[in-house]
Amino acid sequence: MQAIADWFQRLYETTGLNFSVFYDAYDWDRYFSGLKMTLLLSVTTILLSLIIGAVGALLQGSPSILLRLPVNAFVVVFRNTPPLVQLFFFYFGLGTMLPAVETAGMRVPLLNNVQWAIISLSLFAAAFNVEIFRSGIEAVPRTTLEAAEALGYTRLKAYIHIVLPLAIRVCLPALNNNLVNLLKTTTLAYAIAVPETLYAVKQIWSESQNVFEMMVLLLATYGILVGILVWLMHRWEQAMRIPGYAR
């Protein structure tokens, strides 16, 4: 570790390229906690959006219009409005309406900015996931569902055990795209002061005066994160592949 720090220190002294995060412990801590926050945001929003998406797709296929209509409205509204405005609407609009709670003598909002960011971003991505899952479910042949019915599966059980596993395999490429998009969208949390990578890096560059170097680091960070996610999704796709099927 010391060697890396020394190398970057020397790089700064010889070329003026100031990658302060790699030799300054304070900057490194901020960067690292930002990275952790980005990871927390990404993982929770991905999981939540997948769950909401799956539930939404189930409701969307239900025979009752009372269940279908809200899901469709949700999808249509969240797909056609800017995620940043959604975030502001949730955090400022709804956040100020919720009652505050008393903890340790201080009145704090019921949900803090990190939680609102998670809620808002998950809902945004879930709206896309609903559509993606739906297209996957539509690709499952009717006959398969009929066979499940004949075997006495209820609608819910058939959905969980038969339709969803097949649908997920079908829609993985599209899902992959959307999740990468979601990872990139987590930067929006910057706007409501969630200390994620962009926020941390901006703090560092405004103190250390190294905008260019931090920009490069920032782009590299997101490049690597997206790379890891894509790699994981490909692994998953490989693992879920139905032998002898698909191209």
């Binding site: 249509v76 056609n80 800017p82 940043l84 405005v85 309406m97 690709a139 599209a174 962009l198 782009l219």
Partner: protein, 280 residues
């Protein structure tokens, strides 16, 4: 699907061709607008326990709507400009992706991947902070206001996305067409410009419009870097009205409504074109 079904009568799971995620028209645009409007109304009335001196949220919106809509127009302007810039650059990049000359194709692939995978906000910061606020060309100083820089910042991801769209469209044309063109002794350049691209325009239109809807929704990011577009103005209006917390939801709801009314028809139209131009 029917042909496939006949061919694979015994298949457990039919070979699929995943349609690109498309909007399904299940809510008509007017009723969607009514839905939105009602939601905002509900939000405004539920929290309008203000005294006679204070304006109700609806009145505030009405009072400031010219300014807010002007800001929205600015958003549209930015989106249109960056779309034009990005499309011109993107078509060039897309053609470079398809180039026979390997290093050029590899370099443009790298550029495309880079700009596609970087978050929009980060690219915006990149342009905002690293492009000077004025450039001196031949002793004339050209000022670069923030919104121009933001436009360029949005044009970069548009470029990469359009490049992918162009590449995908050209690739989707059967290879026999290339062979036919070759046998008619068209040069590669003529083949591209006279045969491939005219056919591609139809196929490129729906995804291109998708990209446009994406850009329009991203223009609000410019408020984070200090361009005074709709979202910035919304915050200012909120402050001007005394910063009452119950005004947040109606004001941001109004912004949501504006974007919805602009983007939803585009999406519906895209879906319609997609169905009409469905490739096989």
């Amino acid at each position: 699907m029917n042909d496939a079904e006949r061919g694979h009568r015994l298949a457990v799971l039919l070979p699929y061709r995943l349609a690109p995620p498309r909007m399904t028209v299940r809510i008509s645009p007017p009723s969607a607008a009514i839905l939105c409007f009602c939601a905002i109304m509900a939000a405004s009335t539920a929290w309008a326990q203000s005294g006679p001196a204070m304006l109700s949220p609806l009145q505030v919106i009405l009072k400031w709507s010219p300014l807010l809509l002007w800001g929205f127009g600015f958003n549209i302007l930015i989106s249109l400009l960056s779309m034009v810039l990005g499309t011109i650059a993107g078509v060039g990049l897309g053609l470079a992706l398809l180039s026979e000359f390997r290093p050029l194709a590899a370099a443009s692939w790298l550029i495309t991947q880079f700009f596609r995978n970087a978050p929009w906000l980060v690219l915006l910061f990149f342009v905002m902070f690293l492009v000077p606020f004025q450039v001196t060309l031949f002793k004339t100083t050209i000022p670069l206001p923030d919104w121009i820089k933001a436009t360029v910042g949005f044009a970069l991801p548009v470029m990469a996305n359009v490049a992918e769209v162009v590449r995908g469209a050209v690739r989707s044309i059967p290879s026999t067409q290339w062979e036919a063109a070759e046998s008619l002794s068209f040069t590669p350049r003529q083949t591209m410009w006279l045969i491939m691209l005219p056919q591609c325009i139809k196929r490129m239109l729906p995804p291109w419009m998708n990209v446009y809807a994406l850009v329009t929704m991203s223009t609000v990011l410019a408020s984070i870097v200090g361009v005074s577009e709709m979202l910035t103005l919304t915050a200012q209006v909120h402050a001007a009205e005394g910063g009452r917390p119950e005004l947040f939801a109606p004001l941001y709801g109004f912004a949501l409504l504006c974007f919805f009314l602009y983007c939803y028809p585009i999406n519906l139209w895209t879906a319609r074109l997609e169905r009409r131009y469905r490739v096989r």
